[in-house]
């Protein structure tokens, strides 16, 4: 079934159209994004049960973008009734004119040629099998409790076991002179985490689940609990990594983190505009092994970062960023594309209606190859199988990479030895790492359980992934 439209947006649309027309009479460009976003988070552990509306991401509000004499301004707000229209228009005028703001000497304001974008009328909704609201809190908590009880019963060595589930439904309306677009999207994520303790040190291991859809995700959770519990226990005996460069096999989640952190951020084209990304100088050149083909796009996969149009009213794309090792293009928001003279790729995203739009990744992944995982491991004299990535940080200007990985399983003479090293910092120069890719497995897996920040803020939902991948990687 389809995700339902937002009643709030339907009710506000006549007023928003009135506001749009009023702004268009005054400004050379005016657009409005209306957002109605709600979600619920559930968590069950040995010592805590919680169920709440997701108050961090849940929000309702509006952001208006206007241009006056080629200068852009935005206003975010969440109070809108017939009686508020005058105040809203006044507030927008105030920020657009900025008559009280004096820039330091030597600074000026950018003036742009206004590009309104193509005429588009669109309405779309994603699909779901089980509506989490209809299923209800009790049934969801009951399923999570069942998983938690099963997990805790596996071993008395674990400190705690947590089962989590979150869903988010958002509806967006984008209005400008040329556009009238509506979309309704629902995604769900879940996870288990196991904690084990030795002295002052806590080791944890988790596994996540995600999909574009609803509570049907709960049916996918709860498998292989024994193996996840065993990993947490094994981590208590883990050793410190001896720093060095090793031949590694990355699991799909680790491949995904490399795709996202190593190259994804580096091709966000708002960074090209600021001369902050080295990738801008390498379009058309080999930046990776010929085995590497990389995609990004809200319609490149069905995952948690799938949508029909971005927060600037550009339809979603499937962008091939690297084609058989050659860098083809970056991804962009509307404004960056216009400045650079390229086509916008539907990657203009906001953390919420309260924040600015930036070029952001969506579903980002490497295509699969033809190699088997067994052959990859069998070909390594000494190295590691990397699993369970936890965090990463980008460096588009200098193509440095930093990822934290929780599990490095030792490979010796083509076999896993059972020894685990943890945690590991994965670093290096991005093209060196990507050019060292020597094998890819056929099956691609994407995970959309995480959020992505730009620098230290602006969190948006993304998914990433790929196949098992063999490469040379510096570990510490």
């Amino acid at each position: 079934m389809k995700v339902q439209e937002s009643v709030f947006i339907r009710q506000k649309k006549p007023l928003l159209l009135k506001l749009r027309d009023r702004l268009l009479a005054e400004f050379e460009y005016a657009s409005i994004l209306a957002v109605d976003c709600k979600g619920r988070s559930y968590s069950v552990s040995g010592r805590n049960v919680s169920v709440s509306e997701d108050t961090r991401s849940g929000s309702r509000g509006f952001v208006v973008r206007v241009a006056k004499d080629g200068r852009y301004a935005e206003y975010s707000f969440n109070a809108l009734s017939e009686g508020d229209l005058d105040k809203v228009a006044e507030d927008i005028r105030a920020v657009a004119e900025a008559s009280n703001l004096t820039l330091p000497e030597g600074l000026r304001e950018n003036v742009y040629e206004i590009h309104p974008g193509e005429e588009t009328v669109f309405v779309g909704s994603t699909e779901l099998d089980v509506d989490p609201e209809a299923l209800g809190d009790e049934a969801i908590l009951s399923r999570l409790t069942e998983i938690k009880d099963k997990g805790r019963a596996i071993s008395d060595q674990i400190l705690d076991f947590t089962a989590r589930f979150t869903w988010q439904k958002y509806s967006k309306l984008f209005l400008s002179r040329e556009k009238d677009m509506e979309q309704n999207v629902l995604w769900a994520t879940g996870g288990i985490s196991v904690m084990a303790k030795k002295g002052q040190e806590i080791k944890s291991h988790g596994h996540s689940y995600s999909k574009l859809g609803g509570a049907e995700l709960l049916d996918e959770m709860g498998e292989d609990l024994e193996s996840h519990v065993q990993v947490a226990i094994d981590l208590l005996q883990s050793q410190r990594m001896v720093p060095g460069e090793y031949e590694c096999v990355c699991d799909p989640a680790t491949t995904g983190m490399i795709v996202h952190e190593a190259f994804g951020h580096g091709v966000e084209m708002d960074m090209f505009v600021k001369n902050r990304a080295q990738a801008a100088e390498y379009i058309g050149e080999y930046v990776a092994s010929p085995l590497v083909t990389m995609h990004d796009g809200a319609c490149s996969a069905q995952q948690t970062a799938t949508y029909f149009f971005d927060d600037e009213g550009t339809m979603a794309h499937d962008t091939i960023i690297i084609d058989k090792g050659v860098l083809k293009t970056g991804i962009s928001d509307f404004q960056s594309a216009r400045i650079l003279g390229t086509e916008p790729t539907g990657n203009g995203r906001r953390e919420s209606f309260r924040r600015k739009a930036y070029t952001r990744m969506t579903n980002t992944w490497f295509e699969g190859g033809t190699d088997s995982v067994e052959d990859m491991i069998g070909s390594i004299k000494y190295g590691f199988l990397l699993q369970d990535p936890s965090s990463g940080m980008e460096d588009p200007k200098n193509w440095g990479i930093q990822c934290m990985v929780s599990i490095a399983r030792e490979i010796k003479d083509g076999k896993l030895t059972g020894r685990i090293f943890s945690p590991c910092v994965l670093t290096g120069y991005v093209p060196d790492l990507l050019k060292s890719v020597s094998a890819m497995s056929p099956t691609v897996q994407l995970s959309g359980s995480g959020m992505c920040g730009k620098g230290w803020k602006e969190w948006v939902k993304v998914s990433d992934g790929g196949p098992y991948m063999k490469a040379k990687i510096r570990l510490g």
Binding site: P243, E394, V425
Partner: protein, 424 residues
């Protein structure tokens, strides 16, 4: 809106609740080089309602809670529906019973910050001016800037008598410094102040510009090995968060942390400086309306108290203090120049410096460090450091110089012996 919510709670017979009203306004400017690219303003009003439900199950007294958003402009029926849903959810989320924090009505506490008392544009001009005042060179310059000036009010009302409100302010943002030669590099600098502290920001920018020039000279990573490592600036604050988190009642109750008052949290046989850490009350009240005050958390390496919100404090039988996010650490007695004696690796910036409070592991990729072999100092880049604070905390030496940010005041630098470096 507040009255509408209270009225709906009464009609539904919900006896235990907390309402938080947050009003905010902000001015935001985004610059590319010396050009203002976009200006934004925001004006929002948000309500979060926590509904509690006390009940018995299998002979155990339980208290469940659930939060919901109530949006400005919601009709009465919609508010009632949201609260009813939250009450039902609370009845399913039973945790061991505890008494809510009992507070009282108090006068509004205004913010004394300049940001609260002058037009937002004035604060913006001061901070933007501070950044660009140091942007005077051709060879190293400000690439881009984002500045967010925000102010507002928080009002917390509960069924247990709390009715407090206070003013809030924040000045946050980031600037990127670029140095195109001999190699084209950049460094990113987020900043966060409680007020429009233009002088502090200008000093930071000046240092960042010098640092970026040094990074442009750095071409190789430090050789792999173990080093005495100096960590400085905001990274010291990140390291100190380990103690803040481990002393949180929620982690202690869940047995994730075994911290107890009286413990020597740095272990025995401390060869470096003993740590003293004071919790700083940056807001007059906590999220639950608990009056916040400065408290000594650790004195000479010994834990003096646990801190935390009502629920887990009640479970542990301690006084709820509210959750703290800001700390002050007294500076050490060793000047930075003395810390830099002999062989060392002074990491100036990481791509991201991570501290895992569960494991005690810290690490990050090096964007710029200075390597001293005992005589010569060389700028290096790349590679990473990793270590365990559980081991490192026994031999930390704090600098005599001070560093201040929104949530940390304390030594500018700390030297840690025997840190593993994955380098060239």
């Amino acid at each position: 809106m507040l009255n509408k919510i209270k009225s709906a709670l009464t009609q539904l017979g919900i006896e235990l609740y907390q309402i938080e009203q947050v009003k905010n306004e902000s001015l935001e400017c985004f610059f590319v080089r010396k050009n203002l690219d976009l200006k934004r303003s925001t004006s929002t009003e948000d309500y979060t309602v926590t509904v509690y439900c006390a009940f018995e199950k299998d002979g155990r007294k339980l208290l469940g809670s659930s939060q919901t958003n109530v949006y400005v402009g919601m009709e009465d029926a919609e508010i009632t529906e949201a609260l009813k849903k939250a009450a039902y959810a609370a009845s399913l989320a039973g945790n061991p019973y505890y008494e809510l924090y009992e507070g009282k009505q108090a006068e509004f506490v205004p913010s004394t910050a300049k940001v609260a008392n002058q037009p937002l544009e004035k604060s913006m001009e001061a901070m933007v001016g501070a950044i660009y005042a140091e942007d005077t060179r051709e060879d190293v310059f400000i690439n881009s800037v984002e500045v967010f000036i925000a102010r507002g009010t928080r009002h917390i009302v509960s069924s247990a008598g709390v009715d407090v409100s206070f003013g809030t302010c924040s000045v946050t943002g980031e600037y990127i410094v670029q140095c195109p030669a001999p190699q084209d590099v950049e460094t990113m600098h987020p900043f966060s102040y409680a007020d429009a502290d233009a002088e502090a920001l200008r000093a930071e920018v000046k240092e960042s510009i010098e640092m970026t020039r040094a990074r442009a000279q750095a071409t190789t990573a430090a050789p792999t090995g173990e080093y005495p490592v100096i960590i400085s600036g905001g990274n010291v604050a990140t390291l100190m968060r380990y103690y803040l988190m481990r002393s949180d009642a929620s982690l202690v109750y869940q047995k994730i942390s075994s911290f107890q008052p009286g413990d020597n949290v740095q272990g025995e046989d401390i060869q470096g400086d003993k740590l003293t850490l004071v919790l700083k009350a940056k807001d007059p009240y906590s999220n639950e309306g608990i009056p916040m005050e400065d408290r000594t958390l650790i004195e000479n390496g010994q834990l003096k108290m646990l801190q935390g919100a009502t629920r887990f404090a009640r479970y542990l039988g301690i006084e709820p203090t509210g959750s703290y996010r800001s700390v002050e650490v007294p500076v050490g007695s060793t000047p930075l120049e003395t810390l830099k004696s002999g062989k060392y690796l002074h990491v100036i910036t990481f791509s991201s410096f991570d501290m895992n409070p569960f494991t005690g592991y810290f690490g990050g990729e090096i964007r710029l460090a200075f390597l001293c072999d005992g005589e010569t100092v060389t700028p290096v880049t790349g590679g990473s450091i990793s270590g365990s604070l559980l081991e490192a905390q026994k031999h930390m030496t704090f600098s005599a110089e001070k560093y201040e940010s929104a949530d940390y005041t304390g030594p500018f630098a700390v030297k840690i012996e025997g840190v593993s470096v994955a380098g060239a």
